[in-house]
């Protein structure tokens, strides 16, 4: 299940806000009673989409929302404790290999796309883990793997 990059809570679904305008002509009838006649209903207009249901903050999802909910597209803080390893443009998060989208990432948020090809992912994962081992031999064993 994906997590919110702001509050860190697991997200099962995302909220979106819509607004709709209904127009009425309001008059008094011959008895002096108020009459409401609906004469126009606008289309729903999105006010804000991709909102965390826990902290109500907008999550900057530049891709398909479905991809985010399936964790193929991840938005994280760079210091997220679940980032197991990082090398160059690649990150291991929850055991899966992601590529950092540098065009969409910012200093505060990493935008990650899942490396779908399993063979490529395994090679990158091994490479990332090896370089992590070389730099800090205790990191992986401390992570319980």
């Amino acid at each position: 299940m994906p997590k919110c990059p702001f509050c860190g809570k697991e997200i099962e679904y995302l909220h979106s806000w819509y607004q709709e305008v209904t127009r009425y002509r309001v008059s008094l009838d011959e008895n002096g009673d108020l009459q409401w006649e609906q004469d126009f209903v606008s289309d729903s207009e999105a006010l804000e989409t991709d909102v965390c249901p826990h902290c109500e903050r907008h999550i900057p999802i530049h891709d398909d929302t479905e991809e985010f909910l399936k964790e193929r597209y991840v938005v994280l803080r760079p210091d997220d404790p679940e980032i197991e390893a990082r090398k160059d443009n690649f990150v291991i998060f929850r055991g899966r290999v992601y590529k950092i989208d540098e065009n969409e990432s910012s200093p505060d948020l990493l935008i990650l796309r899942l490396v779908e090809d399993e063979l490529v992912a395994d090679i990158i994962k091994t490479d990332v883990e090896n370089s992590q081992m070389e730099r800090c031999p205790n990191v992986l064993s401390a992570g319980g793997r």
Partner: protein, 158 residues
């Protein structure tokens, strides 16, 4: 931050077709006037803005769905059907009936039909109490219902 109200410009929808209630003008009922364009109004246009929250869910089998989740308030805005200026009623919904009934009216302070003395005003033969006066020159007037009092005040204003 949610923007709950669209801009007024976006709400300027096209004025509706000719008014089917125009028989009220045949002297049966007096109608209020728009403080901006001066048009006689036998109806008002009210926009109701509803904000709704929807949840986008993806199930483990890959299927997705939108679910209506919540409604967060309704906002009403009243417009003149002729010039489409917003009529700034204090309490939008409850004041609509009083406005159409000319029990609560909003006029420019320089309206030629007003005779004013202090907090009281005579408008179309009826006596009103000035309950508010805005910086932009609008008078908010409430009808003095007591006929005897109105007659006494009205005589002084004539």
């Amino acid at each position: 931050m949610l923007r709950l109200m669209p801009s007024r410009a976006s709400l300027r929808l096209q004025a509706s077709s000719p008014n089917p209630f125009s028989f009220f003008r045949l002297g049966v009922r007096e109608v209020p006037k728009c403080p901006f364009c001066g048009a006689e109004l036998n109806h008002l246009v009210v926009h109701e803005l509803v904000c709704t929250k929807h949840a986008y869910k993806v199930h483990s089998n890959g299927q997705w769905e939108w679910q209506y989740d919540d409604e967060k308030g309704r906002e009403y805005t009243v417009f003149c059907p002729e010039c489409y200026e917003e009529i700034p009623l204090h309490n939008c919904i409850s004041d609509v009936e009083d406005f159409l009934d000319e029990e609560y009216i909003i006029l420019r302070s320089d309206d030629p039909e007003i005779k004013r003395k202090g907090d009281l005003a005579l408008f179309r033969g009826k006596v009103y109490k000035v309950i508010d006066e805005s910086d932009d020159g609008l008078l908010y007037l409430e009808l003095v219902e007591d006929e005897t009092v109105a007659d006494i005040i009205g005589a002084g204003l004539e």
